[in-house]
Symmetry: C2
Subunit: 303 residues, 2 copies
């Protein structure tokens, strides 16, 4: 089975505002064997671009360094204007375990990369999400608060020394956030009620922020076109909080409010494992080893 | 997404009895770009070898032809002795849809291959399983009955003309069976009872042969080491008869006999889709498109 990591770096430039800089980054993203550039999105208003790359841990770590180096060459944050919050030429580098790799290994990758971009490029960095050195740094928005312009002052505050590098930004490339996180699953559950308050009450019970499941973010919404209420969730770690667990909890709570689940949806790409774990639960599978027993895992990386 | 077909041809030779012939076949199996030889098993007592290859439909169809040609060159069925039933140098060629390919496309592959090995090699063939021209030919054992030695006489019977070729075997290569079938899922469900009769009664209700689900074969067994009864199934088409359907039926029948399901297992490799379909069922997923929404499908065939 192939070992694969996804990396979704965000850069403070756009094809719309500086095509040469954007193209230079795309070229670097395609330059490392063993790494595939899946998608490149650019937004002129945000003056920001986001790459989605998948490859071996080694190739991904290397391309992330080379991209950070190139971004420092072609982007001057003193001249950057855009709607999106940002603090560095390479603003953020997330590593996501995709196949045959643990989130702990991605944490190690983020730490090696942080050290290297300080040693070789003199760009400081924060570790965030699962790589965070203290709980306050898990949230990217907290790390980025103050943005590029406010960062020199922020770094002098006792609690905001970078995880790598000195207490001052790189003069043109700023500072970067690097972190490992599990893949996110967008999971929505629809209820047989037009009362959005039911969905809101259920969301409050199941989400971590109000005392619910550790790796579940949830809100209650109205689906206006269908006239029904929806519990909309971001499952930020489906291994810690499985989809079937929140589904069964919502089912029980819906019954308590006199309604029931009519359907659900996963939005966008999801890792097979998040759903295979549900099949394992409902079929009461014993000794099931998805990575060895599911054919598709053997096909990835096949020559 | 990659388009992939699995092919598991069986040849009437073994590394143990004729290493040169075996090696010649292995070399051919590795010779076509776009096709990977996953596994090669050889059995001296059976005097038979089985290759597992996966690749694009085009590459698989080509390699299946080249292997049949090579087998006809290196194997003389008049001299073949082995415990396993056989009727040809290339005894059987199954095509199994693996990703982005329908079983109907595999049926077309089997028909083109049958025509070609007659046209170019003068080897006749039967179509079996989903490719069968009449229901009596679906079963490979029925096609092969009489074996190489009895085949000249069998082909003269009114109902046993080959699907391709004349009513006589190739003098040294015999006759070949070619067919498309869905991947098989070995699925067992364990019951909280030591009464094997309950498992046997349930198996009888759910299996096709006694009036149950069309694509389910089932038997009742005793798991002696655990002291519990098991319904052991071969699911021969999980799209026609989903795993969750037989699971729920067994659950209901177990209750009728005063027991319940304690667990289940899938044995060996299984296609992700057979289990993703179960997750879709139990989570009531709406508009779920596994091939577009499951990340791993996008990773297969990635460069």
């Amino acid at each position: 089975m192939a070992r694969l990591v996804e990396c979704i770096p965000n850069f403070s430039c756009s094809k719309e505002k500086d095509e040469a800089a954007y193209n230079a980054l795309v070229d670097v993203a395609k330059s490392v064997p063993g790494c595939t550039l899946f998608d490149a999105q650019t937004d002129g208003n945000h003056n920001r671009c986001v790459f989605t790359m998948i490859g071996s841990p080694e190739a991904i770590e290397e391309v992330a360094f080379l991209l950070t180096k190139k971004a420092a060459e072609v982007i001057d944050m003193n001249k950057h204007v855009g709607e999106h919050s940002r603090m560095g030429a390479t603003d953020v580098i997330p590593f996501v375990p995709t196949m045959g790799v643990t989130v702990e290994e991605c944490v190690e990758m983020s730490k090696r990369l942080g050290q290297r971009i300080w040693d070789e490029l003199k760009i400081p960095s924060f570790l965030y999400e699962d790589s965070a050195s203290v709980p306050e740094r898990r949230n990217l928005a907290t790390c980025r608060k103050g943005q590029f312009e406010g960062m020199p002052e922020k770094l002098l505050q006792p609690e905001w020394a970078p995880d790598f590098g000195e207490r001052k930004i790189h003069p043109t490339a700023g500072i970067t956030a690097i972190g490992a996180r599990m893949p996110l699953v967008a999971f929505n559950v629809n209820l047989a009620t037009s009362d959005v308050e039911v969905a809101k009450k259920i969301a409050k019970v199941i989400r971590a922020s109000s005392g619910g499941f550790k790796c579940c973010k949830a809100m209650g919404f109205m689906l206006e076109d269908r006239g029904i209420a929806q519990v909309s969730m971001n499952m930020v770690n489906y291994e810690v909080t499985p989809l079937n667990v929140v589904y069964e909890m919502i089912k029980a709570l819906a019954e308590r409010y006199g309604t029931y689940i009519v359907g659900s949806e996963v939005v966008g790409l999801t890792p097979a494992k998040a759903l295979l774990d549900c099949a394992e639960h409902y079929l009461k599978l014993e000794n099931f080893d998805a990575h060895n027993q599911v054919m598709e895992y053997h096909l990835v990386g096949m020559e």
